[in-house]
């Protein structure tokens, strides 16, 4: 399959999906074909590198060359520290460990969930409109989907340890469509970590989607750790729906990729709901990280809080376009949005478009965007204490990202992600 021919519907593995979903996929394929490629004048693609998203040259991922070594490589946590683990490689489930899950919790391949829990699946699978620009690519994702992770935590169930889901891509110019669908029932609680990894230093295309649905008073920590190869093109499309008094904290860490487009769309649907949106982006080489976000307040007394930190080295480039929208009924909204760009090189470029649309009154909204360089005083302080300048700069960058990790308000997760970050930054 190349991108210009019909995907999995005709490619032989379709028997895993129920017929209604296969029809759905055919429609999605038609939609993908009918939608035009994004243009310079499309506002959601302002500043974007349109050349990077011409995705014609990619192939359907073939079989995995060495599944055992990928499973062996999927061990960030000791097994006892996890509630469950799934490992996908080239959109095939190659490892399942669900021993630590409390009873009643479902952790299934998506196609199984579509068959066995059709109602729930239909209610939560890609139901919100893709509004931040990647409608075409989301349609391709839906049309091409082969599997993915389905997490359902029923009412009142609390999972203490994280669920970890690995998504590997293997093969030159391989394409994958990772999908994680998380549904939390009333007062349920869970932590889910998605890991996106390349098996080799190869070019690849990933169009990943995560749907996060939080019932009343539910609590979710979701982290996407993106470590695709430096040659990869990746789309990460999120939709989060938060019901009354529920609390979602989602962190996207972009540690790899040549071109990464992230779209995070939070719907604050219930009164008193809360969505914390975080991102850590150490950009180096010629990496481009293009992030669009939406904090859409439909209900009164909800809170959304966004903090994105970009550190730009070499000739890297970032785009942040965020929108806080307070709909007419959403009185007493608290909404915050902050993007900080730390410029580490003269060749780097940071574009920020923090937006507000306020249709209700009695709201507290602020947004801010800053771009600056390393603080000379801080550098001097450390160098005066014998820390070489390069290391001092690294420490400052680590501290800059540390303030985002702190916002997770989860010490275990902070420590775990801190280690990943340290490795990435070369400590």
């Amino acid at each position: 399959m190349s991108i210009t021919t019909a995907p999995s519907v005709e490619s032989g593995n379709s028997s895993n999906w129920p017929e209604w979903f296969r029809q759905d996929q055919r429609k999605a394929w038609d939609l993908f074909q009918s939608l035009g490629q994004p243009k310079r004048t499309d506002e959601p693609w302002r500043f974007a590198n349109l050349k990077a998203i011409e995705i014609g040259g990619f192939q359907a991922a073939a079989g995995v060359r060495d599944a055992a070594s990928l499973v062996a490589g999927s061990t960030a946590h000791a097994d006892g520290d996890l509630a469950a683990k799934l490992v996908f490689a080239n959109d095939t489930l190659i490892h399942t460990d669900v021993k630590g899950l409390p009873s009643g919790v479902l952790l299934l391949p998506l196609e199984q969930a579509a068959k066995e829990h059709e109602e729930l699946f239909r209610k939560c699978f890609m139901t919100s409109e893709v509004r931040l620009g990647s409608k075409k690519f989301a349609a391709l994702h839906r049309a091409s989907l082969r599997t993915g992770a389905f997490v359902h935590v029923p009412k009142g169930v609390v999972i203490e340890k994280p669920i970890e889901i690995w998504h590997w891509v293997d093969g030159e110019n391989a394409t994958v469509f990772p999908h994680t669908l998380i549904v939390l029932g009333e007062s349920a609680s869970a932590t889910v970590i998605d890991r996106f990894v390349s098996a080799h230093d190869e070019s690849s295309l990933a169009i990943a989607v995560n749907d996060l649905t939080l019932g009343k008073n539910a609590r979710l920590h979701y982290v996407g750790v993106q470590e695709w190869s430096d040659k990869a093109t990746a789309f990460h499309i999120n939709a989060t729906e938060v019901e009354r008094d529920a609390n979602s904290t989602a962190l996207q860490m972009n540690l790899g990729g040549a071109y990464v487009r992230g779209e995070s769309d939070s719907h604050l649907l219930g009164e008193g709901s809360r969505s914390v949106m975080l991102s850590i982006n150490p950009a180096s080489g010629s990496r481009e990280i293009d992030q669009r976000t939406f904090q859409d307040h439909f209900a009164p007394r909800a809170t959304s809080d966004l903090l994105y930190h970009n550190a730009l080295a070499d000739s890297s480039r970032t785009i942040f376009a965020g929108l806080i929208k307070v709909e007419e009924a959403a009185h007493e909204t608290d909404a915050y949005q902050k993007v900080r760009n730390l410029m580490l090189s003269d060749e780097a470029e940071a574009n920020s478009m923090p937006g507000l649309e306020i249709l209700a009154d009695n709201v507290r909204c602020t947004h801010g965007a800053t771009s600056g360089e390393l603080n000379e005083d801080e550098l001097f302080y450390m160098m005066a204490r014998g820390i070489p300048s390069k290391q001092a700069a690294q420490l400052i960058v680590r501290g800059f990202f540390g303030t985002v990790l702190e916002r997770l308000e989860n010490e275990d997760l902070q420590a775990h992600l801190g280690e990943i970050l340290d490795r990435k930054l070369g400590f």
Partner: protein
């Protein structure tokens, strides 16, 4: 300069809301074709290069799409073929008030221009529909070599200065409306301040639309030569008509090395006017350009004054107040293009949305590669008065390289119930308390306006606030 000057300013809408039946000596008719442009060029006796410039502008106007991919769809309600592009009583501006035809004089007397001039202004130019009706510059300023004339006179009598900068800061193809203005421009001011001359008093212009379905397209070019300083103030009014009226000006400022230009606008268009204006300044080394912009009225205003800081150490500033009343959309902001080291820009924007009014801030800050020591500070504050009021903020900030500091902050707030309660406890009515709170919100900016404008602005805010409570 307080109470007795109030009626003279001409920014109170009730003062501006009148019109006279005019017999126009020159009327380009309705709609825009190449023939319209030839008509305008013939009537004005344009030199060939201006006629060619107009036609080029017309071609670009047709080419350019409406910017509705980012701007409001309300723009699609402008019917270009229904608009009258040129109307005038005669194209030579009069030098003394007595020479001005009585009916035009009546209009401007109601707006209070001659009284103004008598008081302290260095020069006044008043534009009525397409052409300057009256312009004068005090002898003292003229003796210093300051040129203050209409754009038509400027391009004919001072081509050597005019041509050098005309259309250079804002090329006709900059956007659809600057292209339209380039095609049909008429009127506006041309100012040249020679090196080292500091114009003590502000120069002032009034723009007024009197005819229905009319488009006003003035073109202003201000050049402050090395070390010169000038302050320019413009006021705008139009009576209320049933149908939409278009105002689409282009204003270009050029500040040579060490020069300073302040450009102050107080606009009070009636609520049928599409006000789509392109304003940009070019600041050379150590020069300073400051836009002070107050937007009240109009159906839709789209205006983003900009400064291109081309020389080292140049400074750009935009201070903006927008008040969007019921049914109005104020889409305003600023553009700051840093093009040299150690350039500094500052944007302060405050908006108030009343009733169903919508205030939008749209900004652009651009720091290209390999620049050092550039600083930008942007602050946008929005105040919402009613539950159905709306405000938006859409900044775009591009920074390349290190060694620069850029920060943007915005907030949205309401007048707190506690504040209002506190004032009511002390005997103020709710409406008076609201007015006071709104005036407090913009007070620090209003103080940057010349005093008579700031007094008037406060009064205007009080007027707009009337009936917005309860």
């Amino acid at each position: 300069m307080s109470t007795e000057t109030k009626p003279d300013i001409g920014i109170d809408r009730s003062v501006g809301d009148f019109r006279y039946e005019m017999d126009y000596a020159y009327d380009a008719g309705v709609g825009l074709t190449e023939a319209t442009i030839d008509y305008i060029s013939d009537v004005k006796g344009d030199p060939d290069w201006v006629r060619a410039f107009r036609k080029e502008g017309y071609r670009k106007f047709l080419e350019k799409p409406m910017p509705t991919n980012w701007a409001t769809k309300d723009l699609d309600n402008i019917v270009f073929e229904n608009i009258r592009y040129y109307l005038s009583q005669g194209q030579v501006p009069k030098r003394t008030w007595d020479e001005v035809p009585d009916d035009i004089k009546k209009t401007f007397e109601r707006l209070g221009i001659p009284e103004q001039e008598r008081k302290f202004l260095a020069g006044v130019e008043a534009q009525f529909d397409s052409e300057a009706a009256y312009s004068n510059i005090k002898a003292a300023v003229g003796e210093q070599g300051v040129i203050f004339v209409g754009s038509t006179e400027g391009l004919k009598e001072h081509p050597e200065i005019f041509k050098k900068w005309f259309g250079k800061v804002i090329p006709s193809g900059d956007n659809k409306f600057s292209a339209l203005n380039s095609a049909v421009f008429s009127g506006g001011s041309f100012i040249y301040v020679p090196p080292g001359v500091k114009v003590k008093h502000p120069l002032q212009a009034y723009f007024r639309i009197n005819a229905q379905n009319f488009g006003q397209f003035e073109r202003t070019l201000i050049i402050a030569d090395e070390g010169a300083e000038v302050m320019y103030m413009e006021g705008c009014t139009a009576p209320k008509f049933e149908t939409a009226t278009l105002h689409s000006a282009v204003v270009e400022l050029v500040a040579m090395k060490g020069a300073k230009i302040q450009y102050i606008t107080v606009q009070n268009w009636s609520s049928n006017v599409f006000n789509l204006v392109t304003k940009r300044g070019l600041a050379h080394e150590d020069a300073e350009i400051k836009w002070i912009d107050c937007n009240i009225g109009s159906r839709l205003t789209m205006k983003y004054p900009g400064v291109v800081m081309k020389g080292k150490g140049a400074r750009g500033e935009v201070v903006s107040i927008a008040l969007a009343g019921d049914g109005q959309h104020q889409d305003t902001g600023a553009k700051m293009i840093h093009a040299a080291d150690n350039t500094t820009s500052n944007i302060i924007s405050k908006s108030i949305s009343l009733g169903t009014g919508r205030a939008t801030y749209r900004g652009m800050v651009h720091v290209p590669k390999h620049l050092k020591g550039c600083k930008n500070n942007t602050e946008c504050d929005a105040l919402l008065i009613n539950t159905n009021s709306r405000t938006d903020t859409y900044p775009a900030i591009s920074v390349r390289g290190q060694g620069n500091a850029v920060q943007h902050e915005a907030s949205v707030s309401q007048i707190s119930a506690e504040q209002i309660f506190y004032m009511q406890q002390r005997g103020l009515s709710e409406a008076a308390a609201m007015s006071l709170a709104v005036n407090g919100f913009v007070n620090d900016l209003v103080q940057q306006f010349p005093m008579e404008y700031s007094v008037e602005l406060k009064r205007l805010i009080d007027l707009e606030m009337e009936g917005s409570v309860g």
